[in-house]
């Protein structure tokens, strides 16, 4: 239980670090497109629109400053995906990293999966801090020695060297998706993983790259009858036969792979009936689910649509158990948000380690946290102005009408170019990573 001193689950979030350029001009390639902690929380990976992956590692805690948790510093940077061109279909394939998922650590090296629209890659990140010296057949600079000149043999010795972190692509899983990949999820068996595009979900074995099993296919025989697409998919955290996928119609299907090779027929179907009084031109858009995440316990799952976050009990299909409004004040602005394309933004959501709190992003670099037990919510801002070390974040409030109080911001003053789509919560501690366009903010709970 992440209890803080001073009552219940109140967190007191403080600024810790910010990574990224400070320029006003944001390079498109630097825009962060995914953020993910590894299983221990020691590593934090980000992917960007330029196809690069940056991994941060947490420094060991210092005894001198017990209140300050270890900082995250750059551990490895590599180019994961490059832009490609599909000549057959005359399509350019973006190098943007859509998702990164870590594999659980099984040896000294770290493994992660990264994907763009079409290709998934398994990367091995390993450290090298020793170098063998004293080879017989080659010089120190690598040149081959003439074997006839060798008069004596020696055993190479491992000598320490500056730490070098190498990233190498170990597997490339390509050519399995006709449509754009939106999700990847590692299975709890640590041997398989799934990848989902708009219409299909494939199951892979981590060792096998030349084939995958198609387990869901919602492509209609006549594309003119298409009514929904797959928007996200995730494996159950404990049951390796169970996975869920969400749709653009606001529904979630839970499938059991034991039922059949093809999981077109769901085992459970989660849908909340639409409120007819709130129907508008944009009802379909705002009900489209942009993210689905299982709780760590595996008992619940959370979905994010444009205006709200919903928590579902896997045992109850007809409605969510909890609904949290993220930015309901935008409901009257949907037409403008449609015009400027913001209504299509895909926000993600995440659980904390104990499943007692959830977090998601909004506009104006605001992000929202909801405490499931106390039902309290808070709005915080990721900005350079609040970037003094260990400075406590002040709660923000959006004024929805009437007289604007001091420190409140009116809906019309919100900056819709500053959107927080990707957030991540440390699996064990109260440390959060928030991606604000091209900057990565790290906040920590003061009391932990």
């Amino acid at each position: 239980m992440m209890a803080g001193v001073g009552g219940g689950n109140d967190f007191q979030w403080c600024f810790s670090q910010v990574k990224g350029a400070t320029d006003e001009d944001v390079a498109e390639a630097d825009i962060i497109s995914t953020v993910e902690f590894n299983y221990s929380g020691e590593l934090l990976a980000t992917g960007d629109k330029g196809g690069r992956v940056v991994i941060f590692q947490r420094e060991q805690e210092s005894k001198n400053r017990p209140l300050s948790r270890g900082e995250y510093n750059v551990y490895s940077t590599f180019q994961s995906h490059e832009p490609e061109f599909d000549y057959l279909k005359s399509l350019e394939i973006e190098e943007k990293i859509n998702k990164i998922r870590w594999l659980p650590q099984q040896n000294a090296a770290h493994f992660l999966l990264s994907t763009n629209d079409k290709t998934i890659k398994l990367w091995k990140i390993s450290e090298r801090d020793k170098r063998a010296e004293g080879y017989n057949l080659k010089d120190e600079d690598g040149r081959l020695r003439d074997p006839f000149r060798i008069t004596s043999l020696r055993v190479p010795v491992l000598m320490p060297m500056d730490l070098m972190v190498e990233a190498s692509p170990r597997r490339i899983f390509a050519n399995a998706h006709t449509y754009h990949i939106n999700s990847i999820s590692v299975n709890s068996d640590y041997e398989t993983y799934l990848s989902a595009d708009d219409l299909r979900i494939n199951l892979w074995h981590l060792e096998i790259t030349d084939r995958s099993f198609n387990i869901v296919d919602i492509k209609p025989a006549n594309m003119e009858e298409l009514t929904e697409v797959i928007t996200a998919a995730e494996c159950h955290p404990h049951q390796c036969n169970v996975f869920v996928y969400s749709s653009s119609k606001g529904t979630i299907r839970l499938c059991d792979m034991r039922a059949g090779a093809l999981c077109d027929r769901h085992s459970k179907f989660f849908e909340e009936p639409e409120d007819p009084s709130s129907r508008s031109f944009f009802s379909e858009i705002i009900s489209s689910i942009s993210d689905v995440k299982f709780s760590h316990s595996g008992r619940y799952m959370m979905t994010r649509d444009y205006l709200s976050v919903k928590v579902w009990d896997l045992n109850m299909e007809n409605r969510p158990v909890e609904t949290y409004q993220v930015h309901e004040y935008l409901r009257s602005k949907l037409c403008s948000l449609y015009e400027n394309d913001c209504i299509f933004d895909k926000f993600e959501c995440c659980w904390n380690g104990s499943d007692s709190a959830i977090m998601t992003g909004s506009y104006n670099n605001f992000f929202r946290m909801f405490d499931r037990n106390t039902r309290r919510d808070i709005t915080l801002e990721a900005s350079r102005e609040n970037s003094k070390p260990r400075a406590m974040l002040k709660p923000r409030k959006v004024c929805t009408g009437g007289k604007r109080k001091k420190d409140e911001i009116s809906v019309d003053s919100l900056d819709f170019n500053k959107k927080i789509l990707h957030t991540a919560w440390h699996p064990k501690e109260n440390v959060i990573a928030v991606a604000a366009t091209n900057n990565l903010y790290i906040f920590q709970d003061k009391l932990n």
Partner: protein, 302 residues
Amino acid sequence: MINTMECAVDAQSLISISLRKIHNSRTQRGGIKLHKNLLVSYVLRNARQVYMNEKYAEIYRMQQYEEVMTVCNEIQELNPLDLMEDCEEQTGDCCGSASESASLCGALLPVSHQVPPVQHIQPSSACSVPMALQNEEVCKAPDPSFYRSCCAEAYPVSNCDFSPVNNMHCNKTTVLDLDTHVVTTVENGYLHQDCCASLQQCCQGAQSPAKKRKLDFGYYVSEIEEVPDFTPCKRAKFEDSSYVCTEHLDTSNISNLISIFGSGFTGLVSRQADLEQALNGQFCSKQALASLGAWTRAIVAF
């Protein structure tokens, strides 16, 4: 930043915005985004339904007025003294719309789901069937709440849109299957052939409001015409005063969705009203609107 002035939630502007988005998506990096275009097509469908409701309401009001006047004149001829008062009363308490679509018509055509018995009153009664169903909505004043209420009702045709009966569409759509790389062309259905003939004959009545709309839509279309390959084809369409036959569209423009909408949309509006006249009011409104569904879905045929 969002403007302080909320943009007008107007069906027509949403349609043009949506079409522009679909067009722009074809040139975006990374290829066409199926999900986004599907969502845009939903907005398009919703806006179209509101627009069609408005159109029908307008046509209905026009025809109601004509009918009232016709009947009143007939009645006057029969018994000018007795029935003039009745007529005025009835026209007086119409259901609130500006034109005199009186409840006299409501008396003639019961506000129910039955086909009206007054089929001998040609040609306007045909349109009255669907209008009777939506009598309440029709009579509301055209302010923003009208749109909301229109949107609030469950769309009666949502089932039909995706029914297999839907072969009756007037457009040719070209579909490239990304998996098999097969190109298929969905040909015009019978509706196309028939409506060509019937429309030549019965292009009265609903013509004037439709024409007015055509000009309005032409304004929107001309905005989109920055893109070079539209221009010659589109202008020709709008100079044609009768309905637009999509068969004349250059096949290279078939996949050009804006040209499909630009020519087919208002053309379809006038076509629809006339078709209903031709079929004596027995043409189900559901099927009528459903036939328009196919060209909407052409957007997502990737």
